[in-house]
C-alpha cells in the first residue's frame, strides 16, 4: 500500500469518528490542531484504523504516539 492510500484511509477514519472534514493531516499534526481530537476520540480513531487496515497496534507503539507522523509510521511497521 502506498503512502497516499494510507493517508487517504487515515483521513477517512478521522472523518468518520470526528464527523467533520475541517482539518489537514500532516506529519506534525497533533491533537491540538484538530477540532474534537482528544482522549476519547483518539481511542475510537485508533480502533477505526485497526479495522480499516486489518491490523493490531502494539500498546507500546500507542503509548508513545504524539502526532500523525508517528501514527503513519506505526501503521507501516505493523503492516510489514
Amino acid at each position: 500500500m502506498n503512502e497516499e492510500t494510507i493517508k487517504t484511509k487515515v483521513r477517512a477514519a478521522f472523518v468518520k469518528v470526528l464527523e467533520h472534514e475541517d482539518f489537514v493531516l500532516n506529519n506534525d499534526t497533533s491533537a491540538n490542531d484538530v477540532k474534537g481530537w482528544e482522549s476519547i476520540t483518539h481511542m475510537m480513531i485508533i480502533n477505526e484504523i485497526e479495522q480499516e487496515f486489518n491490523i493490531k497496534f502494539k500498546l507500546m507503539d500507542l503509548m508513545n504516539m504524539n502526532n500523525i507522523g508517528d501514527l503513519l509510521q506505526a501503521i507501516k511497521t505493523t503492516m510489514n
Binding site: A31, I40, M43, M44, N47, E48, K58, L59, M63, M65
Partner: protein, 498 residues
C-alpha cells in the same frame, strides 16, 4: 477534626518520601508541606475569616493539591472549577457560592474580577501544618453537578461527612494502603471521585501519580502502570472499554488493589481485566456525590464473587454507619428481590443541595426508625436487595446518564440547545453507545437538516466538554410510544452507524 490531624501527621512523618508524581516530576512530602504552609499563611493572614468558601482552579500541579490541604487546615472549603470548562459556567459557580477569593496556580489568571491568590508565587515563611479548631458542620468542599434547569446543582460536603468517609474506609479490613503504595489519580478535581484518590494515599504516606491535562489519558494510564509499577488503581469502568483491545498485552502483577466507581461495571470485562492483574483485589464501589464519594462496595473476584444483574456486577453492602433502603414511589420499603429506588442514610449524607429547597424537598425524606428520625437521600438509582443482603444495580429512574463517570442531566443539554436554536423544532439529547461500548451523547432535531454550528458554539460556552453532544441527527418525525411519549429507544437507533 480527626482526619485533618491525621493528614498533618502523615505529611510530617513521611517527609522524605515521594508524595506526588506530576508531569514526570517527583515531589516529596516535604515539598508538599512547604507549598501547603505558603498557601495557608496567605489565607490566614490576608483572607477575611468570614470567607468560608474559596475558589480553586484545578490545575495539574503541586500547588493545587496543597491548596486543598491548606484550606482544610484553616477550616475552610474549596470550590473547585476546571480550567478547561467554559469560564461562564465557572463564574456561575462562584456567584452561586458567593466566592470572592480564587486560588489559581495558572501563569495568568482569567479571574481578574476576583481576589486571586497566585499560589505559585507565594513566599515561604515557616512550616506550619497545625490544624485549626474546625467546626464539623462547616463545608470541606462543594461540587457542582449537571442540573435539569440549566443551573448546575451544588453539593456541599462537610468536614464531618469527609471524616465519616475516612472512618468507614479505615474500618474495612480488606483495604489498607501502605506508605510504599503507588496510586493512580486520574480524576479531575471537580469530580468527587478524586477525593478518595488524593486523600487516602496522603493519609497513608503513599505516592500519587496524576495524568497531565494534555495526555491521551488511556495510554498514559497504561504507561504509568507499566513504567512506574503502580500498585493501587482507582478508575471509572468506561476506561476498560478503551483498554480492552490491548488487555492481552497487559500483565501487571504489582497492582494490589483496583477500585471501580462512577458507573456500571460489567462482569465479562471485569473478568478479562482481572486476568491482567493476577495479584489484585477488585472492589466495585458505589456512592453518589451527595453521600461523600463511597457508600459501600462489592468485593469482585472472578472465582468466588461474581454476583451480577443483567451482566452488571453487584454493588454489595453498605459500609460502616451507612444504611441502604430500597423504596417504592411512596418511599416505602419494597420486599426482597423487588426493584425500587435506592436511598441512603448515615453520617456521610450531604446537608442538602446548595440553596435549593425545591430540589431538597424532592431528594431527601425522613423516616422514624426505632424512635429516631433518619434522613435519607434518594439516589435515582434503581436497585434490588437479594436474600444474602447484597444490593444489585438495575438502572436509572430518570434521564440522568453517566458520561466518562460524570453525571449528566439530558434535560440540561436540551434546555441550552432550545434556548439558542432559532428554529423552534423539538430537540432531544440522548445517550448512545459507541463501538467500544461507552456512552456518548447525541442531539436529535425534529426537522429538516439545518446549520447547527452556532448552537454548538453556544453549548461549548455553557457546559463542560463531556456534556457536548458528539453526534447530530435530523429526523422528520420523532418516533413515539403508544402513550404518546418520545420513544427514546427507537430514537437511539437513528444514531447507529451504518
Amino acid at each position: 477534626m480527626e482526619y485533618i490531624v491525621n493528614l498533618q501527621q502523615s505529611i510530617l512523618k513521611h517527609s522524605n518520601k515521594h508524595a506526588f508524581y506530576i508531569g514526570n516530576i517527583f515531589y516529596t512530602y516535604k515539598d508538599f508541606a512547604v507549598e501547603i504552609s505558603k498557601i495557608r499563611f496567605h489565607i490566614a493572614n490576608y483572607i477575611d475569616p468570614s470567607e468560608q468558601l474559596i475558589g480553586l482552579v484545578t490545575n495539574d500541579d503541586l500547588q493545587t493539591y496543597a491548596s486543598i490541604i491548606a484550606l482544610w487546615l484553616e477550616g475552610r472549603a474549596y470550590v473547585p472549577v476546571n480550567p478547561s470548562t467554559p469560564v461562564e459556567r465557572n463564574i456561575q459557580i462562584f456567584k452561586a457560592t458567593e466566592t470572592n477569593t480564587v486560588i489559581d496556580s495558572s501563569q495568568n489568571s482569567i479571574y481578574s474580577d476576583y481576589n486571586v491568590v497566585a499560589s505559585k508565587s507565594l513566599k515561604f515563611t515557616e512550616l506550619n501544618l497545625e490544624c485549626k479548631q474546625v467546626n464539623p458542620e462547616d463545608i470541606a468542599y462543594i461540587l457542582f453537578t449537571s442540573g435539569t434547569t440549566g443551573q448546575p446543582k451544588g453539593v456541599p460536603i462537610t468536614f464531618n461527612n469527609v471524616n465519616s468517609l475516612v472512618d468507614a474506609i479505615d474500618a474495612e479490613p480488606d483495604f489498607n494502603l501502605l506508605a510504599s503504595d503507588r496510586c493512580l489519580q486520574m480524576f479531575e478535581l471537580t469530580f468527587d471521585f478524586s477525593v478518595v484518590t488524593y486523600l487516602f494515599p496522603l493519609l497513608a504516606g503513599a505516592c500519587i501519580y496524576t495524568i497531565p491535562k494534555n495526555a491521551i489519558k488511556y495510554f498514559y494510564i497504561f504507561k504509568l502502570i507499566q513504567e512506574q509499577k503502580l500498585s493501587v488503581l482507582t478508575m471509572v469502568p468506561s476506561i476498560l472499554n478503551y483498554l480492552r483491545p490491548y488487555f492481552a498485552e497487559i500483565n501487571s502483577p504489582h497492582v494490589r488493589y483496583c477500585s471501580f466507581g462512577g458507573g456500571a461495571l460489567h462482569n465479562n470485562i471485569a473478568e478479562e481485566w482481572s486476568n491482567c492483574l493476577p495479584n489484585c483485589k477488585i472492589f466495585n464501589y458505589y456512592g453518589p456525590t451527595e453521600f461523600t464519594v463511597y457508600s459501600g462496595f462489592y468485593p469482585y473476584n472472578k472465582h468466588t464473587h461474581t454476583k451480577a444483574l443483567n451482566g452488571i456486577i453487584a454493588i454489595g453492602t453498605p459500609q460502616k454507619n451507612t444504611k441502604y433502603l430500597v423504596v417504592d414511589e411512596n418511599n416505602k420499603e419494597v420486599p426482597l428481590n423487588t426493584v425500587g429506588e435506592l436511598c441512603l442514610s448515615g453520617p456521610q449524607i450531604t446537608p442538602g443541595y446548595w440553596k435549593n429547597p425545591e430540589r431538597n424537598a424532592l431528594s431527601f425524606f425522613n423516616i422514624k426508625e426505632n424512635g429516631k428520625t433518619e434522613r435519607y437521600y434518594k439516589t435515582g438509582d434503581l436497585c434490588l436487595k437479594d436474600e444474602d443482603g447484597d444490593f444489585l444495580y438495575a438502572g436509572r429512574a430518570d434521564f440522568q446518564v453517566k458520561i466518562r463517570g460524570y453525571r449528566v442531566e439530558l434535560a440540561e443539554i436540551e434546555y441550552h440547545a432550545k434556548a439558542i436554536s432559532k428554529k423552534k423544532s423539538n430537540i432531544v439529547a440522548i445517550d448512545i453507545t459507541n463501538d467500544l461500548g461507552n456512552a456518548e451523547l447525541g442531539l436529535a432535531f425534529e426537522d429538516a437538516p439545518f446549520e447547527t454550528d452556532y448552537i454548538f458554539d453556544y453549548l461549548k460556552g455553557k457546559m463542560p466538554d463531556y456534556m457536548i453532544p458528539r453526534h447530530i441527527r435530523f429526523i422528520k418525525e420523532f418516533p413515539h410510544s403508544l402513550n404518546g411519549k418520545i420513544d427514546r429507544k427507537a430514537l437511539r437507533t437513528f444514531f447507529l452507524k451504518n
